[in-house]
């Protein structure tokens, strides 16, 4: 603190402890949470029950504090000054005999409310301290370390009615592009058909015969039909070979595939 500011106090006759207390207040001015907090701190020096506090004395202390603080050219927030003005007003009310013509609350009422406010603030501070002194979760007592979370299983069930089923079937059966599925096989020789055909023919093929000669008559002309019939016959011949009915050979890559009945 600057020397000249310190001088401001010199004329006052203060005990060392008084001066230290005053300095502490001034130094801490930013530490106060507003005028009410400051008033509460000041009231503690009265060392009495907050309900029996002398509001007049408190108001004087506050005004002195504000006065000193301003002498120190300390910037004081507006609400400190508003409170100072109000306390000055309160002081006058308390000191002067009540004027019966005047409206509004009496000085005693105002003083009682201020005392109530201070007591309430102190009570909340004590309660906050008690609350924080309680055993706390995660510090003094603990929750389950390996929680097994509830898994939400969403089960979807599907449903259909008999009507849906029949309509579905009817829909397929009456499709515009509908063709009976036997007729679908026009350009397709199924393996079953090829197999049937070859089973009948193989008995007559004692010697090596080209697989292509087993294609049904007329099928080798149409490329689509030929492809299907060749594939089906080849698959059928593999099936027959597996069953031990025939033997298959191919001279070289891409050479004609030949089959013959397995000699007995």
């Amino acid at each position: 603190m600057a020397e000249e500011q310190q001088d401001a106090f010199e004329p006052d006759v203060m005990s060392v402890s008084e001066r230290m207390a005053a300095e502490a207040l001034i130094v801490d001015v930013d530490g106060f949470e507003g005028p009410l907090d400051l008033l509460l701190t000041l009231s503690r020096t009265q060392k009495v029950d907050l309900r029996k506090i002398s509001v007049l004395q408190l108001a004087e202390q506050y005004l002195q504090f504000v006065d000193r603080a301003r002498k120190l050219r300390l910037e004081l927030a507006a609400d400190y000054l508003v409170m100072a003005a109000w306390l000055a007003f309160l002081k006058s009310r308390l000191l002067l005999p009540p004027d019966p013509t005047e409206e509004g609350p009496s000085g005693e009422e105002l003083a009682a409310h201020l005392a109530f406010q201070l007591e309430r603030l102190q009570a909340m501070r004590d309660s906050a301290a008690k609350l924080m002194a309680r055993d706390q979760l995660g510090r003094d007592f603990f929750a389950r370390g390996i929680p097994e979370d509830v898994t939400r299983v969403r089960r979807v069930t599907y449903t259909a009615t008999l009507l849906d089923l029949m309509q579905g079937y009817a829909r397929i059966r009456t499709k515009d592009e509908f063709r009976p599925f036997v007729m679908d096989r026009e350009a397709i020789l199924t393996m079953e058909q090829a197999l049937e055909r070859m089973r009948g023919l193989i008995g007559f093929a004692g010697d090596w015969t080209d697989l292509t000669s087993y294609l049904p008559e007329g099928w080798e002309m149409d490329p689509k039909k030929r492809r299907s019939a060749t594939a089906a016959s080849f698959a059928a011949s593999l099936e027959l070979a597996k069953a031990g009915a025939i033997e298959i050979r191919q001279g070289e890559t891409f050479a004609p595939i030949q089959i013959r009945r397995k000699p007995e």
């Binding site: 003005a85 007592f141 603990f142």
Partner: protein
């Protein structure tokens, strides 16, 4: 559901024996880090179960054990016994250090709930910063309550079940010193006589019904 319907259903599905129900409640509570409400337990247990009764048995069973059954609002949780906290240093979670303003604001909300911001400011004598409220909401210790049916319809703040859980409170009624504060009239919101400095009071006193509101919704 009407009572007759309930009766019918009860006769259709036999509830499991109480011993089994106790096991179920035990399993459900052990599995959860959060308190579980009786309604939630009931929904998960077989039809006709009475978790409330099973809880009575279970609570007795865990009396004096290393973990205890505790009530948190209308929910239940298993928590380690407070005298064994020293064994759990490894599990200790560093909570963000709360400012004095935040701690006081929290206490005011807990003791005065539902309370408006203006009322908090009136009690503390300073304005409440947004950050303080935000921090408490973020910690899930306070939440918005009902709006006041007064001009401006200001929002109110109430404490949450998480708050109760954190401080080991069965309900907000169990806040330390609540009764004394109330009988001393310190929880009343007294309108200031005439002009007073500081934040203006704008609401009527609703504190009386406040504490009960916590358990309504």
């Amino acid at each position: 559901m009407s009572e007759t319907e309930l009766d019918q259903e009860e006769s259709l599905f036999e509830a499991p024996p109480m011993g089994e129900q106790e096991r179920m409640v035990e399993a459900i509570l052990f599995a959860s880090a959060e308190p579980v409400s009786v309604a939630d337990m009931e929904a998960r247990m077989p039809h006709g179960s009475d978790p409330a009764e099973a809880l009575v048995h279970l609570r007795k069973r865990y009396e004096g054990r290393g973990v205890n059954l505790v009530r948190v609002g209308d929910a239940w949780a298993i928590r380690t016994a407070t005298d064994l906290g020293y064994l759990m240093q490894k599990e200790t979670v560093e909570t963000r250090k709360l400012s004095r303003a935040a701690i006081e604001t929290l206490a005011i909300i807990a003791y005065h709930q539902p309370v408006t911001r203006a009322e908090i400011e009136e009690i503390r004598g300073v304005s409440v910063s947004r950050g303080t409220i935000d921090q408490l909401i973020e910690m899930e210790w306070i939440r918005f309550g009902r709006r006041r049916m007064t001009p401006g319809r200001p929002v109110t703040f109430v404490v949450t079940p998480d708050f109760l859980d954190h401080f080991g409170l069965e309900s907000a009624r169990d806040l330390p010193g609540l009764k004394e504060l109330r009988s001393a009239g310190l929880l009343e919101s007294r309108p200031p006589p005439g002009m007073m400095p500081g934040p203006e009071l704008e609401e009527e006193d609703e504190t009386g019904e406040g504490q009960s509101e916590l358990f309504e919704d």
